[in-house]
């Protein structure tokens, strides 16, 4: 075609977008900015950011048994666990120290995958900021602990699946535990 036509067509495209940015909605050519603090993107259940620890009911009923699998499998080695010992010095199958360095964590979600006790999960919260890089981003057990209700809120499908699984396992355990009990009354 004639010289200058391509330039003209390009200008028409930008003009069209200029007009649609006023006239149209987000999905058909309108402004696609999400004005962050006021508006938010829709949240996806699968979205993973940083890990947290789940407890049932009260914070002392931690699911974690400090087995250390996640600590070992973490590619960046950002998890540090120390097992609690009771008064006698016997391991209490509970974490005394559970630190995750968020500055090191790369959100891969492997800890969630390998955890055999359904204890560590990836959180959706992404507004994590600290004024200090080294200590500020190391999250300790207290900060990491979140209730199961919170887990159900942020990742409903996974949480209910886990709950069902745990329930089934518990019932199975009970059922296993009961048969020896059943004959006992005699």
């Amino acid at each position: 075609m004639t010289f200058g036509w391509g330039v003209f067509k390009g200008m028409m495209v930008t003009l069209k977008n200029f007009v649609t940015s006023y006239a149209c909605k987000r999905d058909n050519g309108g402004i696609f900015t999400v004005q962050y603090p006021e508006e938010r993107e829709k949240e996806f259940e699968n979205f993973r950011n940083f890990p947290f620890l789940v407890y049932d009911g009260t914070p002392d009923k931690v699911r974690c048994v400090a087995c250390g699998i996640c600590e070992r499998e973490c590619p960046t080695k950002c998890i540090h666990i120390e097992m609690e010992t009771d008064a006698a010095g016997k391991p209490a199958r509970k974490p005394a120290v559970f630190d995750i360095d968020y500055g090191l964590c790369m959100n891969c979600g492997l800890c969630e995958e390998v955890c055999p006790f359904d204890s560590i999960f990836m959180d959706c919260a992404f507004e994590v900021a600290a004024a200090e890089r080294l200590d500020g981003l190391v999250f300790h057990k207290k900060a990491l602990l979140k209730s199961n209700e919170y887990f159900r809120k942020v990742r409903p499908a996974l949480a209910s699946a886990i709950d069902q699984k745990r329930k089934a396992a518990e019932e199975k355990k009970k059922a296993q535990a009961q048969p020896p009990e059943a004959p006992k009354p005699q």
Binding site: G6, V7, M11, T14, L15, N17, S21, I31, T33
Partner: protein, 389 residues
């Protein structure tokens, strides 16, 4: 009705006259003359600064909309305070001078560059009787003063002792000299028709048809306008001719080593140049402040802002030229076209109206196509792509 219109039309002129008359009552004559100059000067200074500030906002807003996003909208309603926030930021920024820089010239360059930018305002006719200095060589003055802009750019690029700056300075020199030639020549038909170099006279020459007898509505005027506008875009280093400060190649070209207020001054000059060049383009080809119904200054500012929006539109759409293509475009395409345009204007002068229309349009179209054929390397190749399995 007409009286109201006239009142609004002359509102600024009468305000100034009233003020001067007030001063004239108890001050000698020469003070009044001085006061007249000072008033015009202050108005221009304030207007230049305000226009620059809000042009940045306008540009960012328009670009944002073109790119389907909001522009600045956080500082004040619709981001109206954004320029002020930017200004405060610029003021408080550290002023960095490179260790090896030529310190005096490094300091002088941004100061010098705003001077011609302000000086051009003198001859821009903002409305009926609203030219700050109605020089009889107004157009020549404009061309001369705008050609001085090269110097401070050189100063900045040389004084920075930076290779990017140096390259940017070289590009500026080449580009500005080249584009001045077709720009000056594209103005010639207008001078021929209005028989004057005074910007005011040129506007008055377009006053027929209730203020719609603009030069752009003639073939030579249209061609001249397009050439002039392209050259003006190149003169004030705006995309697609922004090679001197090409971000992706030269970081920031000649003002790479500038920060803080000095940087802001460079920007100020650039935006004010854009404004004045658009204003002059409106004056020369779009009838200046001529137009029905609205006050004259409203017409002028309306036309100017439309042209500025087109410049911003260019920026939102086009990639940048390469330096050889840029020069080739000026010398091989625009320059012959303007020469032919001068010829066409002469024809227009001598032929009767209908024939003049026909002939000039014909000559321009044919020469356009011939020029395109001669500049075949500007024309995209047609390519057919194969899909193989």
């Amino acid at each position: 009705m007409n009286r109201i219109l006239g009142f609004f039309d002359q509102i600024f002129v009468s305000a100034k006259a009233w003020l001067l008359a007030l001063l004239g009552r108890f001050l000698p004559d020469w003070v009044v003359v001085l006061a007249s100059i000072v008033i015009s000067g202050v108005v221009i200074l304030v207007m230049g600064a305000v226009i620059m500030m809000y042009l940045t906002l306008l540009e960012r807003k328009l670009l944002g909309r073109i790119q389907n996003r909001y522009g600045p909208n956080r500082v004040g309603k619709w981001g109206l305070l954004q320029p002020i926030a930017d200004g405060i930021k610029m003021f408080t920024k550290e002023d960095i001078i490179p260790a090896n820089a030529d310190k005096i010239i490094h300091l002088l360059a941004p100061i010098v560059i705003v001077v011609p930018a302000f000086m051009i305002f003198l001859v821009v006719p903002f409305g009926r009787g609203m030219t700050a200095a109605n020089l009889n060589i107004g157009l020549l003055y404009f061309i001369a003063v705008s050609s001085v802009t090269t110097l401070p750019i050189f100063m900045g690029s040389w004084a920075s002792r930076n290779k990017y700056s140096l390259l940017g300075g070289m590009r500026t020199a080449a580009q500005m000299i080249s584009y001045e030639v077709p720009m000056t020549l594209s103005v010639v038909p207008v001078i021929m028709m209005s028989q004057s170099l005074s910007t005011n006279e040129i506007v008055l020459a377009q006053s027929g048809c209730s203020g719609l007898h603009w030069f752009i509505f003639t073939p030579w005027g249209l061609a001249g306008f397009i050439v002039f506008f392209l050259c003006a875009t190149a003169e004030c280093n705006r995309p697609p001719f922004d090679l001197p400060e090409a971000e992706s190649e030269l970081v920031a070209g000649f003002h790479t080593e500038y920060s803080g207020m000095k940087f802001a001054l460079f920007y100020m000059a650039e935006y004010m140049n854009a404004f004045t060049l658009c204003g002059i383009a409106a004056t020369l080809f779009l009838g200046g402040w001529q137009g029905p119904f609205l006050p004259s200054w409203a017409w002028f500012f309306g036309k100017t802002f439309i042209l500025i929006c087109v410049m911003i539109w260019f920026r939102g759409t086009f990639p940048r030229f390469r330096v050889d293509q840029l020069m080739g475009f000026a010398w091989k395409f625009l320059l012959p076209l303007t020469l032919i345009n001068i010829l066409v204007a002469a024809l227009w002068h001598f032929l009767p109206p209908v024939w003049a229309w026909l002939w000039s349009a014909l000559i321009l179209v044919i020469s356009f196509f011939i020029l395109v054929k001669l500049n075949i390397n500007f024309v995209p190749e047609k390519r057919v792509y194969t899909l193989e399995s």
